[in-house]
């Protein structure tokens, strides 16, 4: 069941001469428990798409169903939906506002109308889950480092206990270490809680290691929707869209060109290592 997008089209600047079609007839089914990478070049419509998932944007035409219910029905509670489909935006600076991290994380569950004890319990659990050190809990959020702020922001959404977690470019602006930490965190969250996770990114390397399925967007439409292996086999088309296959795929293609008979469909670093060692052992 979960989330279904049915022929969703969205236009910015409705009715004026400056109308831009950001989404063009997108249909997607997002089943429970899947880890999906949503990839696209800047301006491909991926951020617009995820803002439809929790009803922040209303499609110009088409429907979105959550567990079979149209989310834009008048009697469907948007607030509840936003508790179920948690969306973490790119910049934690856009959401952190309280005097300390703990109170800030309480904001989400408090808005859901839970009682105080439950709110604090959830906030505490969420902060533990994202692995923020205890001494950060009562610091002003603005004193945290970039990676810590991002964790605090993710905790702020996790505390609402969403069934679907959507992260819009969670690694942008982080150093390699911070990047790996965030991606590992997201992956472990999914394994522990069985959440559906949608990871938005423009970097194939970010998602290749973790996701079950990749959705590639270009100019407002979905062009590939398949397993990482299948998607990366369309190396040339991806490059034509200004995207690139993961570096390991590039290496394997280069090796094949140099006369090695290697499997070019590998996507993760681990697989690549095994594949190369296998050839060398021969």
């Amino acid at each position: 069941m979960a989330l279904i997008l049915d022929h969703v089209t969205y236009e910015y600047g409705n009715g004026t001469e400056l109308t831009v079609r950001a989404l063009n007839d997108v249909s997607l089914v997002i089943p429970d428990g899947q880890f999906i990478g949503l990839i696209g070049h800047t301006g491909s419509g991926k951020s617009t798409l995820v803002q439809h998932l929790n009803g922040l944007l209303t499609p110009t035409s088409g429907h979105i169903y959550y567990n079979g219910e149209d989310i834009h029905d008048r009697d469907f509670s948007k607030k509840k939906l936003r508790g179920r489909v948690g969306l973490v935006f790119q910049y934690p600076e856009h959401q952190l506002f309280e005097t300390d991290v703990f109170t800030d994380v309480c904001f989400g569950p408090k808005n859901l109308g839970l009682d105080k004890k439950e709110v604090q319990l959830r906030a505490f659990q969420a902060l533990k889950q994202v692995g923020l050190p205890d001494d950060c809990f009562y610091q002003p959020p603005f004193d945290l480092s970039g990676g810590q702020k991002r964790r605090a922001a993710i905790a702020g959404v996790l505390a609402m206990k969403p069934e679907v977690l959507v992260l819009d470019e969670p690694t942008a602006g982080l150093d390699p270490k911070g990047r790996d930490e965030i991606l590992d965190l997201v992956s472990s969250l999914r394994d522990e809680n069985g959440m559906t996770v949608i990871l938005v990114s423009h970097s194939m390397d970010d998602v290749a290691e973790y996701v079950d399925r990749i959705v590639v967007m270009d100019r407002g439409g979905v062009c590939f929707d398949d397993t990482p292996k299948e998607v990366f086999s369309h190396k040339e088309e991806l490059e034509g869209m200004g995207l690139s296959a993961p570096q390991v795929t590039d290496i394997m293609h280069a090796l094949k060109k140099a006369g090695w008979s290697v499997d070019t469909t590998v996507t993760t670093l681990e697989e690549t290592k095994r594949e190369i060692l296998k050839r060398l052992a021969r």
Binding site: N54, R82, E93, H94
Partner: protein
Amino acid sequence: MIRDITLGQYYQTDSIVHRLDPRVKIAATLIFICSLFVVEQAAGYVVAVLFLAAAIKLSHVPFRFMIRGMRAILFLLLITFFFNLFLTPGEAAFQVWKLTVTKEGIALAVKMAVRLSLLIVGSSVMTLTTTPNNLTDGLEKMLRPLQKCKVPVHEVAMMMSIALRFIPILLEETDKIMKAQMARGASFDEGNLIQKAKSMVPLLVPLFISAFRRANDLAMAMEARCYRGGEGRTKMKPLQYKGRDYAAYLILAVYLALCIVAGRIVPWGSIL
């Protein structure tokens, strides 16, 4: 959402009015506004309407964009209209319930309504055809003589253009912050006044922090490029009058003369 709000409402197209020097347009707007208040008779307004219609036609801006500015003052327009209609003493024309409408009242009400409408549409022509940056450039150059009396003209103009430049950036930022908080279940349009005011905190705190950060970055970037105020600073695109600008000034002078003459031939009341 918030993106739909238009501010500085520049309408991008190519026309002779768009290409005019901003100083001409500022002067024209001032003269047009003055002419509306100098003129007392109907014929003068006919001249003003014709002048404005010609300017709109030349500007290639769709008429509905001109009217848009009117919507904001519609309420004001109606209030002045009815106050003038009912509260002007003079010869009674007819009666509605307990209120007497006088002939002078009708004349005054119509005159004020026409004046106000022309005023708004007239200044819309300027803002629709001039980019805010051009406008500040024009103002800076026009006010340059004031520098002699120690008025910091350049600094004021710089502050204006920075403020204008920040409006769309901060609007976009507001939109993003609102969405980020709504994703956490915040709502900005529920509850009574106090609750609404409280709900602004999660929006305003990140917005202020970001505005200060941006201001800081901008100051740093200006320092890095050795900004030292207006002294000795030259412009990449200096404002320079061209043939069409002199022609426009000439047309303006003719318009003003016509307005004054026409405003005295036919008395306002006689066409009613």
